[in-house]
């Protein structure tokens, strides 16, 4: 074994290594004490990340100019920009993009408002008996498997045997079709999404609220501030940054929304809940139109990068004076 190998092995197998800092071998001490060790520590993570992020992008770009199909014996041909021009006239795909955009526009404001209201309630109740248990129950949906959430809400909201319509009937309220009609499927998916993700947003706002010094509120109440003054003049400016982060995280979450739709409506009825993630899955893994799906993926990637840029910019603009 060479010295290099010895040292690397020692470095990987961790703890009990040299207790003498003046080890005789220069390379060994460069690893153990010098900067070379730093690069070696970083290397595995960088390699894994490069393999799993750079390679897919390069591969996507390469095959998006072909007519490659993973299950086809036909020779793959270079077809230039055909996939992309086809995407922009593909009504189903554009429709799926529109549904995702509509989802963002409808769900994000609700998520932020409800998240703030829940955070206010829970932080007002922060020291009351039982509050810890309440908070724990409240946050559980965020940690759960989205697919399981989708499936059990599908049962609860079944128009015929679901318990929800039965409860509505007990109060004399009209029966709902939930996931089964083109009118109501979209808003039902949004509602289940909110059930799972509002607690997450509320947690972020709660962390923000708890970091606002109590004295500010006390001073405000001495000045005779009403509750809406508190909301608009203290909470809103101080939580803007948290709100921006929560909003962007939720946007990214909706762009990749797959499990919830797959487990409830699979995009239907018709195309009323067909989000872009479901549509790419359908193109790539049900139609096996691999190259076309790669082109669509690239488009989604570009949109996500643009939104992340907004994220960075929003953060810079809301930077709080420390």
């Amino acid at each position: 074994m060479t010295d290099i190998q010895k040292s690397t092995v020692a470095e990987r197998t961790a703890a009990p290594t040299s207790d003498q800092p003046d080890a005789p071998l220069p390379l060994r001490s460069r690893i153990m004490d010098g900067n070379l060790g730093g690069y070696l520590l970083l290397l595995p993570a960088v390699l894994i990340l490069a393999l799993l992020t750079i390679w897919p992008i390069v591969y996507s770009i390469a095959i998006s100019f072909t007519n490659y199909r993973v299950n086809s014996r036909q020779p793959t041909e270079f077809i230039g920009l055909d996939n992309f021009t086809q995407l922009f006239s593909d009504d189903t795909f554009l429709g799926a993009l529109w549904i995702t955009a509509k989802f963002v526009l409808v769900a994000i404001p609700l998520q932020l408002i409800l998240g703030y209201v829940c955070a206010r309630i829970l932080s007002a109740a922060h020291d009351m008996p039982g509050a810890r248990i309440f908070r724990t129950f409240f946050i559980v949906p965020t940690m759960m498997t989205s697919l399981a959430v989708a499936l059990f809400w599908g049962y609860i909201l079944d128009p015929f045997i679901g318990v929800y319509n039965w409860i509505l009937a007990q109060f004399g309220l009209p029966q709902q079709e939930f996931f089964t009609s083109t009118d109501s499927a979209f808003r039902t998916v949004v509602a289940v999404y909110l059930w799972q993700w509002v607690p997450f947003t509320a947690m972020l706002f709660m962390a923000g609220l708890l970091s606002i010094p109590r004295q500010i509120y006390e001073a405000a109440s001495i000045d005779g501030a009403r509750w809406y003054h508190r909301v608009l003049q203290i909470d809103f400016p101080l939580l803007k940054r948290v709100g921006a982060i929560a909003g962007i995280l939720a946007t990214v979450e909706i762009i990749r929304l797959f499990d919830l739709v797959y487990g409830t409506t699979q995009g239907g009825p018709g195309t009323s809940t067909l989000t872009n993630a479901i549509e790419i899955f359908r193109i790539g893994f049900q139609d096996f139109n691999t190259a076309y799906a790669a082109a669509a993926s690239l488009l989604i990637l570009v949109v996500t990068i643009l939104i992340s840029q907004l994220f960075v910019r929003a953060l810079k603009e809301t930077e709080q004076p420390a």
Partner: protein
């Protein structure tokens, strides 16, 4: 319920009824929020003890809680869901261990060593986190096919490690940076090498943060569905993929779906109740320290 917090100090308590009423109102609203989250979960757990006939009845009958038929059919002996369950446990645990093994040294390096172009490397690591899986899943499936790792648990684990790594490195870097450098310098004066210091001093101090990362990595791999659906089938499918069969049945076996769903969400319940502190910390750290 061991951990109920103390009520607010007595001197802040007003004597008058109106203030009490406000307190009661807030308490009730908080209770309502907890119930809104908990009620569907409890309902589905109860459903897992029912028979098929009972799942079709309204009002929903109270099940016989000693009826474990759904669980034994699915998970005992030759049960179909047993393999997926074991596989999901392996995948989640392996993902967690490999992610930590790669992320801890990398984060330590970024926090403490002089690395050329460190800022660029950090920015690149963070930016990979924004990549939506749906945009990468087509090439990833082709890649695993080329490596003959399609339809294997190993292939899935590699993808999961890749997805979690940036989050883990990023979070741990922040944590390591918050460990006072003097502590490490003292250890080095005591004759530890730089690497020895990392293992003997910094990692033990950063243990709570490592637990946060471990929890989130494990639960991510346990919950993940899209990659598992594309990358595993039959012999290699994980529990969420098994669960997805109930999404497209014509006459859904809701009692079985409820049993699998219950097993699927139990880790989230255990983790949330046992480690609420870590979770709140992880969620808010992950999101709020984004610069």
């Amino acid at each position: 319920m061991t951990a109920i917090s103390e009520p607010a100090p007595a001197e802040r308590r007003p004597r008058f009824g109106r203030q009490h009423l406000k307190w009661a109102g807030i308490w009730l609203l908080a209770l309502l929020l907890a119930l809104m989250s908990a009620a569907p979960i409890v309902f589905i757990m109860l459903t897992s003890f029912k028979t098929f006939i009972q799942t079709q009845l309204l009002p929903p009958p109270w099940p016989d809680l000693t009826n474990l038929d759904n669980y034994t059919t699915l998970f005992a002996g030759e049960g179909e869901a047993r393999g997926p369950l074991v596989r999901s446990l392996i995948v989640a645990t392996a993902t967690m261990l490999i992610t930590l093994t790669a992320a801890i040294p990398a984060a330590y390096s970024l926090a403490r060593y002089r690395i050329a172009r460190k800022k660029d490397i950090q920015f690149w690591i963070i930016s990979t986190r924004m990549m939506p899986l749906i945009a990468a899943i087509v090439p990833l499936s082709s890649m695993l096919l080329a490596l003959h790792l399609n339809n294997t648990v190993q292939g899935l684990i590699i993808v999961y490690v890749g997805i979690n790594l940036s989050f883990a490195v990023w979070l741990l870097t922040i944590f390591f940076q918050s460990v006072p450098q003097q502590v490490e310098e003292a250890a080095q004066l005591d004759g530890h090498s730089r690497l020895g210091t990392m293992f003997k001093v910094t990692i033990p101090i950063a243990r709570p943060s490592i637990i946060v990362v471990a929890i989130f990595t494990w639960i991510f791999a346990w919950n993940e569905f899209l990659a598992a659906l594309v990358l595993t089938t039959g012999e290699s499918q994980t529990l969420p993929v098994f669960l997805s069969r109930y999404a497209s049945q014509t006459l859904t076996a809701y009692e079985q779906m409820a049993a699998v769903a219950t097993v699927q969400i139990i880790p989230a319940l255990i983790i949330t109740f046992a480690a609420q502190r870590y979770i709140v910390r992880g969620l808010s750290m992950g999101a709020l320290s984004a610069d």
